[in-house]
């Protein structure tokens, strides 16, 4: 683990970076953003650009997976003709 001091990143910068990531992921999951959040993202366009590559590729918010129905629980009665 690298324990050397990080070059020039303040707590505030960290907060911004994290918030940008979270908001981008929200967008990817189909959620809405507030107008101020949209503005926030626009303000940090440079950060956004670098953050985009960090996001997971798959679409997370697809909802429940399909599930089969098991019909063959018992034999249906068979009347001989």
């Amino acid at each position: 683990m690298n324990r050397e001091e990080a070059p020039g990143k303040s707590q505030e910068d960290m907060y911004i970076q994290q918030k940008v990531r979270v908001l981008l992921m929200l967008k990817k999951m189909g959620s809405n953003l507030t107008p101020s959040e949209e503005t926030f993202l626009r303000n940090y366009a440079g950060v956004v650009h670098s953050q985009m590559s960090q996001l997971p590729q798959h679409n997370i918010e697809q909802g429940a997976e399909d599930v089969v129905m098991a019909f063959s629980r018992s034999e249906t009665e068979d009347r001989r003709q």
């Binding site: 683990m1 990143k9 979270v22 590729q57 997976e65 089969v68 063959s72 034999e75 249906t76």
Partner: protein
């Protein structure tokens, strides 16, 4: 030749014996007397009871050449003397028979019949054939005396003995005679009452040196199998193992008699099924599916159905012997309706067996059964549909089902409830996790057809549930999902769907409907129609009801189900639907106005991962509104949300973070820093820069930084963040623990 001479000698002995007990009168072959008998169903003998008249002509005719040889006293040696003939004609028919059978009872004046003695001019063949002719004639005469039971009774033991004779020729002839006897009801009745006789026939069939004997014996058993007593007699004489052995015969007629007799036994004789199974009947029958006679195949498949219905072991034996492939081949290649029907019945029986199911599917069963859904035979169509329905959950990955899917969509227009039940069920399963099938069904007009099926289903859950499930599948995770979401609205499906949330609640339908509504809400154009149809209050009320139920049973270890559905599933489904509905600002306001925020915050504490996810999700949407954000904070959501930042589930952590950001907008920078640090140790802990920042940051909370300088593990699984670019495509390549999978939380299958 030696053996021939030996058997010839034995035959001569036997002739002598017969001649003592039966009259050695004219067999009719030399004299032209007919060998007629009373025939109800005879095919070999023609004519009627002409015995009296025929004997009248016997003296007039010269001996006729016959390969069967001479009879009685009219051999080539010359006609009888006038005295003999006069003696013959002086006796009545009954007296003649009696004279032959019971010579000791003859009254004065009656003469015994002259015995054939001059055999020197007969050929070997004639001499061999002679006893059989005598036998035949004797029996013919016996048959004419239907009401003389004693006569018939005397013949049976003799025939029984002859059937066990060492001489195969004798056995053959005896078998032929018995076969003739079975053609007449009176004599048949006598035969079935003799277990020894039936047993002798069975043994003769099994040990037959020649095919003709085997065929005759098999024919006897076949004839006897049309009566209850006959079936019992065959069963008790060990006929079943013998008949099963005959299923390996190369002779088609033997095969036919054997399978038909076994079929009759299986249909009407108690204990026959077990006996056939024990005799390895299934192992012999399945290979017969390769035969090409449709009627034979119909009987064989019916036997398989009788044996395997309700018997798991039989089904496995059929599977082990290639049954599925053989049966599917028949469905694919024959047109004979009865055969298709009997075969479909076997497939239906096998289709409930978990081992046979995949084998039938792999052999192309779905496609083969699908070939017969548009014919004129209703019983065949229905059987195929039930079988397809049973198989469908094992066929979700099958290709080449385009035609079947199209037919099923058409059948959704039917009024027949059985057809609807099957069509909706099959479509529901075939569209499960199969994006190609989903797209095809959507393109075939499946959405509209399913909506109409829902409307016609009414309270029939067996139709409604799979129809709604199918719509739910069609409205997500394929290229035309959006098309399907719009189609539901365009075909006036939204009110019908929302109505299904009402009372009386059949929970599987409710659960499916809630999932469908969630998918419909993904389409912005559906948000208002859903609201106008009253979806939100219905969902909220269901959520409250289900949640109360889970709280009531929270203390008990037992999990409770209603109609097979757990209330946790309803909680999750309703919250999930409200989450997506909350994307619309007006809906958002309506949801919040129903005092749902306290409940959603409470759900953050659920032990069910997916419930945590959807409640964090809905709170995330609600927190877009300032007022709601404040309410969320006031409910003490921060604490559980901070916990959720550490969730393995990336979606949960993201929602939690978003809510925290939104409720921290007006908070102090200390609060924001705390959130940030918490994020660093959770969602972004693999981010090196963030990690470094955590080191150098002012320690706000002692618990977040270790005392000894080393970082202890936080006890949760690593999060992996891919480094590929943003991909908006909807694909089904999911990392399982990242998907919203209701099955994850539940140890039992849903």
């Amino acid at each position: 030749m030696m053996s021939m001479q030996m058997s010839e000698a034995d035959s001569v002995v036997k002739v002598a014996e017969w001649q003592q007990t039966y009259y050695a009168s004219d067999s009719g072959i030399q004299s032209g007397a007919t060998t007629a008998r009373d025939d109800e169903s005879s095919t070999e003998y023609s004519g009627s009871k002409k015995y009296t008249s025929s004997t009248a002509t016997c003296t007039a005719n010269a001996p006729t050449a016959s390969t069967a040889g001479g009879g009685g006293d009219t051999a080539a040696g010359g006609p009888d003397s006038p005295t003999d003939l006069e003696a013959q004609y002086s006796l009545t028919r009954a007296q003649r028979v009696r004279a032959a059978m019971f010579p000791e009872t003859l009254v004065e004046g009656e003469a015994a019949m002259p015995v054939q003695s001059d055999s020197s001019q007969q050929s070997n063949v004639q001499r061999l054939a002679e006893p059989s002719q005598l036998l035949k004639t004797a029996i013919v005469h016996l048959i004419n005396y239907q009401d003389d039971a004693e006569l018939a009774t005397r013949a049976v033991p003799e025939l029984t003995k002859l059937l066990a004779d060492e001489d195969p020729v004798v056995v053959n002839k005896a078998a032929m005679i018995v076969n003739q006897l079975t053609r007449k009801e009176a004599s048949r009745r006598v035969l079935v009452q003799s277990p020894a006789m039936v047993g002798a026939v069975v043994r003769a069939m099994t040990t037959a040196a020649d095919m003709e004997t085997a065929r005759c014996a098999a024919s006897v058993l076949h004839s006897l199998s049309h009566q209850r007593e006959g079936l019992m007699a065959i069963f008790k004489s060990g006929g079943i193992p013998a008949l099963v052995r005959m299923l390996s015969s190369p002779v088609e007629s033997v095969l036919f008699y054997a399978i038909t007799t076994l079929h009759n036994l299986l249909l009407h004789q108690e204990g026959a099924k077990m006996a056939v199974r024990l005799a390895d009947g299934l192992q012999r029958m399945v290979p017969l599916l390769k035969k090409s006679n449709p009627k034979f195949l119909a009987i064989t498949t019916d036997c398989l159905q009788l044996l395997s219905y309700g018997n798991q072991e039989s089904k496995l034996i059929i599977l082990a012997n290639g049954g599925p492939e053989g049966l599917v081949f028949i469905m694919r290649n024959y047109n004979y309706e009865k055969l298709l029907w009997t075969t479909s019945r076997v497939l239906k029986v096998l289709s409930v067996c978990p081992s046979n199911k995949p084998a039938i599917v792999e052999a192309g069963g779905m496609q083969a059964l699908g070939q017969h859904l548009t014919g004129s035979s209703q019983r065949l169509i229905q059987n195929c549909l039930w079988t397809l329905r049973n198989l469908s959950d094992a066929a979700t990955k099958q290709e080449g089902l385009d035609g079947l899917l199209q037919i099923l969509v058409t059948q959704l227009g039917s009024d027949d409830v059985n057809m609807l039940t099957c069509a909706t069920g099959i479509l529901s399963n075939l569209t499960c996790n199969n994006s190609r099938n989903k797209t095809l069904v959507t393109q075939y007009g499946g959405v509209e057809a399913l909506i109409h099926a829902v409307l016609r289903a009414g309270e029939k859950e067996d139709v409604a549930e799979p129809a709604i499930c199918a719509l739910r599948h069609l409205t997500s995770r394929h290229q035309d999902a959006e098309l399907a979401q719009n189609a539901v609205r365009l075909h006036y499906g939204i009110p019908a769907v929302v109505k299904l949330l009402g009372q009386p609640h059949y929970w599987p339908v409710v659960k499916a409907t809630v999932g469908l509504i969630r998918n419909l809400a993904l389409c912005p154009a559906n948000q208002a129609p859903l609201r106008e149809a009253g979806a939100i209050p219905r969902l909220v009320n269901l959520l409250l009801k289900a949640h109360q139920d889970t709280q009531r049973h929270a203390s008990s270890a037992q999990q409770t189900y209603q109609d097979g559905v757990r209330m946790e599933e309803i909680v999750e489904g309703c919250t999930g639907a409200l989450h997506i509905l909350a994307r619309d600002p007006i809906n958002r306001g309506e949801i919040a106005s129903m005092q749902t925020i306290p409940l959603f915050v409470q759900l953050l504490y659920s032990y069910v991962e997916n419930v945590k996810r959807v409640s964090a999700g809905v709170l995330c949407e609600l927190a877009l509104d300032k007022q709601s954000a404040e309410l969320i904070d006031a409910e003490g959501a921060s604490a559980p949300l901070m916990e959720l930042l550490h969730s393995n589930n990336e979606g949960i952590a993201t929602y939690a973070a978003a809510v925290l950001f939104r409720i921290s907008e007006d908070k102090s920078s200390d609060y924001r820093k705390r959130v940030s640090v918490e994020l660093t140790h959770s969602l972004f802990k693999h981010d090196p820069a963030a990690w470094e920042m955590a080191h150098t940051a002012v320690a706000l909370e002692p618990t977040y930084l270790p005392d000894d300088g080393a970082y202890p593990p936080y006890g949760y699984a690593d999060l992996t963040l891919d480094t590929l670019p943003l991909d908006p495509d909807i694909h089904e390549t999911y990392i399982p623990d990242m998907t919203y999978d209701p099955r994850q939380a539940y140890p039992e299958p849903l």
